[in-house]
Subunit: 419 residues, 2 copies
């Protein structure tokens, strides 16, 4: 099914959202919108206004997930709805498309159906999940973890940020601690449109991607303990420098992931994204380092190979440098296949709209990973210029946003039973 969308209306919503938490950037347009902050409140309030304006019934659940429900004329209001959405939060100094595109594309799809007089059989729900990026309270995909029952509401509300503020307190402070629990298992299907954050679409010159598999993702929290000591008075041969050991780990992770890419699985990645040094003073030999390691692939086996390399590196560093190490795995999701019936609906919608679509995999985690554990789920991609994301230089052309939204709208309408 093909549904024309209003490209300007979509753009206006994304640009309005870009202003909340906007940051000065040398190039591009950036924003910092952590869950439960003032910028997040403004982004959420704007969404609620737009859902209201489009005639959707808005609910906010206990963990701040926002849903706007549309029951088309003549539809069975008791039928399992078809949902679509994404998230409004960002990484620190992130881009303006990662998240908001998927939320406002879903809303635009509903508006497009209403404007076209399309009345599907099932209700349609537009969703914005709380803290997809995992920058403040959890490791990522927080709101969707509750919506699929992987985490209870109480567990989620008790999560604390680095200052000891709980998610519950933060949501309360911005007026978005609602009632009940958004339950994704009650949905007939779920679609998420997102930017690709990689270059496959750009390289192929194709405007819309249909994801076959979302890569698995593991986070490792590594601690390396050496001995803090005076940088001037401690002989080079008498040191247990936690940062020098951590430097070896950083390079070992890079080498292990590159080796997997060059031999086994091209899509594997391994990253030390965060490193915190104590006491972090120029004139003190570092005594302790905490490192956050991110490992992903479409194949669980190659993820394990990189995790094993981290463990081997830590064992070697204990032996060779005399440091103590600890490694925990707070986050581990296996690769997730997308539902074939929804993928096919997306390809059909592209064909109906005269827009080329292609299969690809997703290297990034998305809330759709969680939703896929309880119902049929599909992830669509719009092209990312140069593949850049989590950066103010993240960019997707407005025409590409509109084209991908048109495919989303067509697939959503077909899946919801429009004729």
């Amino acid at each position: 099914m093909d549904l024309p969308v209003d490209a300007d209306r979509l753009r206006d919503d994304i640009e309005a959202t870009a202003a909340f938490g906007d940051v000065d950037a040398a190039a591009g347009r950036g924003r910092t919108v952590l869950a439960g902050t003032e910028a997040n409140r403004r982004a959420r309030e704007y969404l609620v206004d737009r859902l209201d304006a489009a005639g959707l019934d808005v609910t906010v659940d206990a963990v701040g997930n926002v849903a706007g429900r549309w029951v088309p004329e003549g539809a069975d209001s008791e039928a399992a709805p078809v949902a679509a959405g994404s998230h409004l939060d960002s990484v620190p100094e992130g881009g303006i498309f990662d998240g908001p595109l998927g939320v406002y594309a879903a809303l635009e799809a509903v508006r497009a159906m209403r404007d076209a007089g399309v009345t599907p059989d099932r209700p349609v729900v537009v969703v914005s999940f709380t803290e997809e990026e995992g920058q403040r309270f959890a490791d990522g995909l927080l709101g969707s973890s509750v919506a699929v029952g992987e985490r209870t509401v109480d567990e989620a509300l008790a999560l604390e940020d680095d200052d000891g503020v709980t998610l519950g307190e933060a949501l309360e402070s911005i007026g978005f601690r609602g009632e009940g629990r958004l339950d994704a298992s009650g949905w007939d299907a779920f679609y998420e449109l997102h930017i690709e954050q990689d270059t496959a679409l750009e390289a192929a010159g194709v405007p819309v991607g249909v994801v076959t598999t979302i890569t698995g993702i593991t986070h490792l929290d590594v601690e390396i303990r050496g001995e803090a000591n005076h940088a001037g008075a401690t002989h080079m041969h008498d040191r247990t420098d936690a940062l020098a050991a951590a430097a070896e780990l950083v390079l070992d992770v890079e080498a292990a992931a590159t080796d997997v890419v060059d031999t086994t699985s091209d899509s594997a990645v391994g990253t030390v994204g965060s490193l915190d040094v104590s006491p972090n003073a120029t004139n003190v030999v570092p005594g302790r380092v905490e490192a956050g390691v991110d490992v992903r692939d479409a194949e669980y086996g190659s993820m394990e190979a990189i995790v094993d390399a981290v463990r081997d590196a830590l064992a070697r560093l204990e032996d060779e440098r005399g440091v103590d190490t600890a490694c925990s795995r707070p986050f581990d999701l296996a690769p997730t296949p997308m539902a074939e019936r929804l993928r096919e609906a997306a390809h059909r919608a592209g064909e109906a709209a005269g827009l080329e679509t292609m299969d690809l995999h997703s290297g990034a985690a998305h809330d759709t990973m969680h939703v896929a554990s309880v119902t049929d789920a599909s992830l669509l991609f719009a092209p990312s210029r140069d593949g850049i994301s989590h950066n103010p230089r993240e960019w997707t052309d407005w025409d590409d946003c509109a084209d991908a939204t048109r495919v989303l709208a067509g697939a959503l309408a077909e899946t919801a039973g429009a004729e």
Copy 2:
């Protein structure tokens, strides 16, 4: 000259000071006393009380340097005084002896002279310099830089911490922004007693060290700029990871310093003590790293060899990894020889007290480095257990504190003209 000192009185002062800014530590006793903080105010007020109680005239200069002046009976109050002291600030989670020992040893030396009825010809000044450790406003040796005229009062007061608070504002807020400028060039001589922060005295079983040369010290501020990007969606071969580049730098600094130690100069050290990663999120390829590098030796040539290795590493990283780099040198002090007449006085005082003394060099920077540029200066060391410092496990036995203070008192009295 030998002067008995009151070991308990000395210990009481150091223990009282240890309570200000004290931190929980798994082992040992730690404190965090940054310049201009509440903990620093309390340490300063306690010192002023103790100087008052001992009958010294207390002055606080415009940058917060505290001086207590004693004019012995019959002394020429116009004669150039002999000064002694150290500092009260600490690194974050530092030890309780680094600094306070030298301040209270100087005061104890004056009290010992008074108790013994020793009346030297020259006034004696007990000094506590502002921010020796350089953890908040400057790179180190802040108060002494003003006392020797290397930095003007106005320049020092305008220095800002990371939150934009100036030294002037911070001193004002704790009531220690005084008047005028403590002028070290007017002193006949200066002594500083400090903990060794290394293992030479412990290894030799000698209670007091007499420093021949204080090593030179260079700080480099390095910035490495790569490209922040999504850790899941960015192919291993498409990354410009600033942290991976910084990891190479950390290991190159370690290797270069170790190479100098093994071939040219055993006392050389090179340390990357601080590393700040942006955006420092587990799921983002690091886009920028700032590193603080500390390089020291008793030979300036070997310091230059390590600095050159840093510059070579950065050029290579630009070539091989495509990062941009910048390197500045905000702090550079050549190695400083100590005054021979004061060193000899210290050895004589040890002999008179029946305490063995030995020559050694100092790997750590001290305010004495600055003072030596305007008058005769001497640095004495007490043993550090296991050489540990800038750490709550820093320890010097109370007997060793007293013995070193006795040598300081004897040397100070002789230099001030006591008979």
